[in-house]
Amino acid sequence: MKSGSKKERIAQRIARELRDGFYVNLGIGIPTMVADYIPDGMDITLHSENGMLGIGPYPTEGAMNPDLINAGKETISETPGSSYFGSDLSFAMVRGGHIDLSILGGMQVSETGDLANWMVPGAVVKGMGGAMDLVAGSRRVVVAMMHTSKDGSPKILPECTLPLTGVGVVTMIVTDLAVIEVTKAGLLLTEVAPDTTVDEVREKTGASLRIGDVREMRFAS
């Protein structure tokens, strides 16, 4: 088993979904960490919905520029071949199916691939930002989340109980315990983490799972 936190492990596993030439949008939180695990030599272009393609690593302290931020409002850097544009073109890219992969956090996912991730129960509503567009438009949507809530209750459910971000939009769920694909026939368990079992995953999942040819989760490094 890889060292590092469970969240890093999720990011490492998701990095294995990257393919050469992909344009990828990373949400806030675990998804942002995926950038650290892009395989060497693979041509991945990161999209930021506030109007940029080609995000580079965080800048050095002296190079921070208030004119250059990502959608999480963090200072970032550019790479050779970066481009900047307005929000209208940025979301034209998203809705138009030009983003190969979006990686987002999740609060709940249903067995038909519905996603809830924008309204925290009991808290003031802060807004959906670009999440609804990203899930509606991206070619593949991978949800990165812990398998259960802090109280142990399942986050993968027959139906979401929280307000939805999108209907039938999720392609794959990657958690600290498992990789689950959303198929037309329902949720398909394809990988379990080294430190768990199919039975444990099943127990911690609120929706019914089809059990495929289950392998052990592997991680990009």
Partner: protein
């Protein structure tokens, strides 16, 4: 009437209850100087159309603190705790719009369209009460254009014909908002003569701009200072 170079009269003349678009994403590319003038003028019951609502101590947050804002139309207001408090107390109204729909509705207003069908928000609360339609096997929701009386935008460079150029990620909603308001007021870091921006690199052609002026003392706050050590 051609381009004007002094924003004071136009901003002072904005009536109570006006709807004003403000460019920027977080604190990046926000019209700091025009907001300061609006603070001085003190109009009330404004509707502000902006992706975010600033932070407690800067940007649109200053207008909210000053009691000038009745309603926000935004995509994410998570960075402003004063607004959150007013919202809970029912003293301010907030309309939340998905960010791509927000951008596209503003563009539709600027482009003279009557509305459009988007896949975003289908099956969510965003589509409640709106027409949905299946088109070529996919479901879309109808969205209307989003107009405003004024747009406050900020650019890196402007010329005296009103042409604007935005550096790095400062374009965000500035260019599209400049299209969508009855009057557009552009503050720039650098005001140059006509021809000072490469004609192919103009992001906002001057025909969308009514006032262009050189801003003073841009603060350009950074919301989240993220950096790496030099040797990493």
């Amino acid at each position: 009437m051609g381009i004007q170079y002094d924003p004071a009269a136009m901003i002072a003349g904005i009536p109570d209850g006006a709807r004003i678009m403000m460019g920027g994403f977080g604190m990046c590319g926000i019209p700091e100087n025009s907001i300061a003038l609006l603070l001085e003028s003190g109009q009330k019951n404004l509707t502000i159309v902006s992706n975010n609502a600033g932070v407690d101590t800067f940007g649109i947050g200053l207008l909210i603190n000053n009691g000038q804002v009745r309603k926000m139309i935004s995509t994410y207001i998570g960075e402003n705790t004063v607004l959150e408090k007013l919202l809970i107390e029912g003293r301010i109204e907030v309309d939340l719009v998905p960010q791509g729909t927000f951008a596209e509705r503003i563009r539709a207003a600027g482009a003279g369209l009557g509305g459009f069908f988007t896949p975003t928000g289908v099956g969510t609360v965003v589509a409640d009460g709106k027409e949905t339609r299946e088109l070529n096997g996919k479901t879309y929701v109808f969205e209307e254009p989003l107009h405003a009386d004024y747009a406050f935008v900020k650019a890196s460079v402007g010329d005296r014909k009103g042409n604007l150029f935005y550096r790095k990620t400062t374009q965000n909603f500035n260019a599209v908002m400049a299209m969508a308001a009855k009057k557009t007021i552009a503050e720039v870091e650098q005001l140059v003569d006509a021809g000072g921006i490469e004609p192919e690199s103009v992001h906002t052609p001057g025909l969308f701009v009514d006032v262009v002026y050189q801003g003073a003392n841009f603060e350009k706050r950074i919301e989240k200072r993220t950096y790496r050590t030099a040797d990493r």
